[in-house]
């Protein structure tokens, strides 16, 4: 049947069929071919078709008959057509089949097929066309488009008219309102029908419904626009490469087909500069070229989508490329992930830093999860707890309590429920909570300072408990030691004999010891407000403060000897010392000072100095005194010597020799006296003045001495002293020493008596003898009266009076050695009275037997 159908085209040379052929060539053929293939595919359908074809043949014949006999109008309208039909009838069989085929085609064609006469009145419309208005063929025959479609039809009419006038086929897109659907678009192929002479006799319109295609096209356009926009606006680089292969199917070269603005921007080029160019032409940089080439080659070989991350060093660009091989094209998208990468790197670095910090901080850090299990800890914690990491990790609080006994700093046990971490697990913050942890195995004690913070997740629910652990064992122990040493210190400073004090860096006294207070009785507050200068003697205040401030400002140890006032208003000398106390950085925070009472020491020193001076003076005097008799002796001896030399034969009379002997004896006695005195001094000084005690009468001794010394009184121009002697003055005494005492007093009375009468009185009561020697001489100045008994003292200037100046000292020493006393009363210019008191002893015989002597 196909053969027949095709032969129909070959067979018929009519313009209609030639037109049909061109029509068939134009796309519509697709539907015919589809139809034919459908027939081939289904034999049953073919047999049906054969049947209907036979029916059609019959009908056609009937129609021809009718057309020839009755239907004149049709015949009139197209005589040529009739003629043709007539010709065809001659070849009835072929024509019949062609007609049947045509009818089938017309009836079954989904396209609208309309045949119009030269006045554009419808001659034929196939069922598809009739469907537009759901009309029967009879209803539309003979009507124009305007008749059928009104205003809409006018357009068709004009177009049809155009075809007829131009006598050329036209393809026109038209829109028709279809009943029950709305507007549909049709692609109409209109061509004129010509008779054999070429006269136009009508028009055929074959309209194909392209509504769907049109829609699709529109959508396609729209989506294409969308993708173009997307392509252009994408913030990622998109490059499309055309890839060329060689014969071995290897990638030979590639040229850029498209690149979106972002990609161009990355390269810094315009589209013109790069489109259609090869890699080498685009990039001056070899590394870029190589990179792209290798990527493209690899991708094209693999032929699948691939994702690569890389780094373009020349552009300092981290990127993620998604490459898609696409037929002979290659699409490469590049996302700039530099920021992301850098952020990631930074985050990694920060993470590393954080972890380093976490591990290296000196504080221990532990993290507990909400179940109370230890899930994280750093190295410092291990060091603090002397525990390897594994031992504690993932341990619960109760398990930890098996390892450590936790106590308060006072030693009270704390159960795990009350541990600081338990509070943190309940959402509390803990700051500086101090506990004592005892490692049960080793018994090691740890003092820990704990701080804790709950950690919250993004949903604001607590997720962890973070604990910071600081080992304060050493501090605690140090504090303990410090407290002990502090107690020791205060015990020390309160018991030392010195005053101790401390002042701060503003020179304000902040502390002093009990000794200090008991001496001054000045409250600390008063000292702080008025300054320590209130303790100083006004005469020393200014210079002392000056010196102190100089040392204080320079931070130098200070030492000064100052008179400080006691609470009773008296002053004593103190050696004041202060040392700066520095902190670890070398700043002076405090001064610690002591005041040592040196008053006695100073007095002693003064005494010592005086004694040294006195000794030097004594040596000078002693040598002077010794030289005096020596001078006499020397002159006497040299005179004798020179006389003997000058007169070798002279003889000396007895009188002359006696005189020389007496004078020599006198000087020798003087020398002996001096030496005795000096020996006495040495004995007294060493506390060893031997006494040869014997019962004796003091009155006898006094009488004896005064008798002996009368010539001296007379020689000095003074009257002989008057004696008032009590004879009962008996005792156990050293006679020679007392002789010395009385002689001394009388010599002094002669020396200083100013030639006035001297009175000697001896009194006695039961226990004591009183010997009184009273002169009326120059007297002793009041300030000297206390010191005349000191060694080397003279009441008058040393150049005026000769003598050792030891007399009264030796006198006193002898009296004291007898358990007696010596005293003086004197008024300058009036005279002096010396009184010696000696303890009296029971006499061996009755002294009343002898009457008192009164001279």
């Amino acid at each position: 049947m196909l053969f027949q159908f095709i032969s129909l085209f070959h067979f018929s040379p009519s313009p209609f069929f030639s037109s049909m052929r061109s029509f068939l060539q134009f796309g519509v053929a697709v539907s015919f071919i589809g139809f034919a293939i459908g027939v081939l595919k289904n034999r049953s359908k073919i047999s049906k078709l054969t049947d209907s074809y036979n029916d059609l043949k019959k009908n056609h014949l009937d129609l021809i008959q009718k057309m020839s006999s009755e239907d004149c109008s049709l015949e009139n309208l197209n005589l040529n057509f009739c003629k043709e039909i007539t010709d065809c009838l001659s070849n009835k069989k072929d024509l019949q089949s062609a007609y049947d085929s045509l009818k089938t085609i017309l009836n079954y064609s989904p396209d609208l097929i309309l045949i119009k006469d030269s006045h554009l009145r419808l001659i034929y419309a196939n069922p598809s066309a009739l469907k537009i208005k759901n009309q029967s063929l009879e209803e539309v025959i003979g009507k124009t488009a305007i008749d059928l479609f009104g205003d809409e039809g006018k357009v068709f009419f004009e177009k049809d008219l155009g075809v007829i006038k131009s006598k050329k086929p036209q393809h026109i897109e038209e829109e028709i309102t279809v009943q029950g659907y709305g507007k549909k678009t049709f692609l109409s192929n209109k061509f004129p029908l010509k008779d054999l002479e070429g006269k136009i006799i009508g028009l055929v319109c074959i309209a194909k419904d392209i509504t769907e295609r049109k829609k699709l096209e529109k959508e396609l356009k729209r989506s294409e626009e969308k993708y173009r926009k997307l392509f252009e606006l994408l913030p990622i680089d998109v490059q499309v490469w055309d890839v060329f292969y060689n014969e071995k199917k290897e990638v030979q070269s590639s040229t850029l087909s498209e690149a979106n603005p972002k990609a161009l921007k990355t390269w810094g080029k315009t589209l013109k500069e790069v489109q259609g160019k090869t890699l080498n032409e685009i990039f001056s940089d070899h590394s870029m070229t190589d990179y792209y080439r290798s990527t493209i080659e690899l991708m094209m070989k693999k032929n699948n989508v691939n994702e690569i991350e890389g780094y373009f060093e020349p552009l300092d660009l981290y990127h993620r490329s998604i490459s898609i091989p696409f037929g002979e094209k290659f699409i490469n998208t590049i996302i700039d992930i530099t920021q992301l990468k850098k952020a990631t790197l930074l985050a990694q670095q920060q993470n590393l830093q954080l972890s380093a910090i976490f591990q290296s901080v000196s504080h221990g850090i532990i993290v507990f999860d909400m179940k109370g299990n230890l899930i994280l800890q750093n190295q410092s914690l291990e060091k603090i707890l002397y525990h390897r990491r594994d031992d504690l990790l993932s341990q619960s609080l109760h398990e930890l309590s098996e390892i450590f006994l936790v106590q308060t700093s006072n030693g009270a046990k704390i159960s795990p429920e009350d541990w600081p971490v338990s509070k943190v697990l309940k959402g509390q913050s803990i700051k500086n909570s101090t506990i004592k942890a005892i490692h049960k195995k080793t018994g090691k004690e740890l003092h820990l300072n704990l701080s804790g913070e709950p950690i919250f997740g993004p949903d604001k629910k607590q997720t962890h408990a973070l604990m910071i652990v600081v080992d304060i064992t050493q501090e605690i122990n140090q504090k303990k030691r410090l407290r002990e040493s502090g107690a020791l210190f205060s015990a020390l400073v309160n018991n030392i004999p010195q005053h101790a004090w401390m002042c701060n860096s503003h020179s304000i006294t902040i502390w002093y010891n009990e000794k200090f207070f008991s001496y001054t009785q000045v409250p600390l507050e008063k000292l702080q407000t008025q300054g320590w200068a209130i303790l100083l003697h006004p005469n020393y205040c200014e210079s002392a403060l000056k010196k102190w401030l100089r040392h204080f400002n320079q931070g130098l140890p200070w030492e000064d000897t100052l008179p400080l006032r006691a609470h009773d208003g008296t002053y004593r000398w103190f050696l004041c010392r202060a040392h700066p106390i520095m902190d670890l950085t070398g700043n002076i925070t405090q001064w610690f000072g002591t005041n040592t009472d040196v008053t006695d020491q100073l007095l002693l020193q003064e005494k010592l100095e005086k004694a040294i001076q006195a000794r030097a003076e004594f040596l000078s005097i002693a040598s002077h005194e010794l030289k005096t008799p020596l001078t006499s002796l020397k002159i006497q001896n040299q005179l004798l010597f020179s006389d003997l030399k000058a007169k070798p034969n002279s003889t000396y009379s007895h009188q002359q020799v006696l005189s020389i002997a007496i004078r020599t004896e006198k000087q020798i006695n003087r020398l002996q006296g001096l030496v005795d005195d000096m020996l006495d001094i040495a004995r007294i000084r060493s506390g060893n003045l031997p006494l040869k005690k014997q019962p004796m009468s003091l009155s006898d001794l006094v009488y004896e001495i005064s008798e002996r010394m009368n010539p001296q009184f007379i020689q000095a121009g003074a009257p002989i002293p008057k004696l008032h002697l009590c004879l009962s003055a008996w005792g156990n005494w050293d006679k020679l020493r007392l002789d010395q005492v009385i002689s001394n007093l009388l010599i002094n009375a002669i020396r200083y008596g100013n030639k006035k009468p001297v009175r000697i009185e001896l009194k006695s009561d039961e226990k004591t003898c009183h010997l009184i020697v009273e002169d009326h001489g120059i007297g002793i100045p009041e300030e000297k009266q206390n010191s005349i008994f000191n060694p080397f003292e003279r009441t008058i200037d040393a150049d005026s009076v000769s003598g050792l100046g030891l007399g009264l000292f030796i006198t006193q020493a002898i009296v004291l050695a007898h358990q007696g006393r010596i005293s003086v009363k004197s008024t300058p210019g009036t005279g002096s009275t010396f009184t010696i008191e000696l303890p009296q002893h029971v006499p061996l015989f009755d002294p009343t037997e002898r009457p008192d002597h009164v001279f």
Partner: protein
């Protein structure tokens, strides 16, 4: 040949006595005074032609000591008295200061040699014939 006299001022009786004897033996007329006061009194009383050729002066004396006597003499208005040479005669150790201050004074340190006494006195009083012949 006329010999000038010597005034000896000395509180120690023994020394005074001995010095006077020694000078007398040598032929010098002598006057003695026990302290400065008496010496001054003597100088004012004695006729001008009998003023001593020199004064032998002890320093440590009661009433008026040697230093005071020197001060008095230096203040003296009578030139002849003021100009009498003074020979210090002392057992004091620390005379160096005094010697430095008054280098014009001769000093006899006790105990002195007889020869020293004579040679000093000889400077101011005429040399007695007796000694020369001896």
């Amino acid at each position: 040949m006329q010999m000038k006299s010597v005034l000896v001022v000395e509180d120690d009786q023994d020394i005074l006595e001995n010095v006077v004897i020694a000078l007398n033996i040598a032929g010098y007329p002598t006057h003695a005074a026990e302290n400065g006061k008496l010496a001054l009194r003597f100088l004012y009383q004695v006729p001008e032609q009998d003023l001593p050729g020199c004064i032998l002066l002890d320093l440590m004396m009661p009433e008026m000591n040697g230093f005071e006597f020197i001060e008095h003499l230096q203040m003296e208005k009578i030139f002849k008295i003021k100009k009498i040479p003074i020979i210090i005669m002392s057992a004091k150790d620390n005379l160096s200061y005094f010697i430095k201050e008054k280098p014009e004074y001769d000093v006899l340190k006790k105990p002195f040699e007889l020869e020293q006494l004579y040679s000093v006195v000889k400077k101011y009083c005429l040399i007695p014939e007796k000694i020369q012949h001896a």
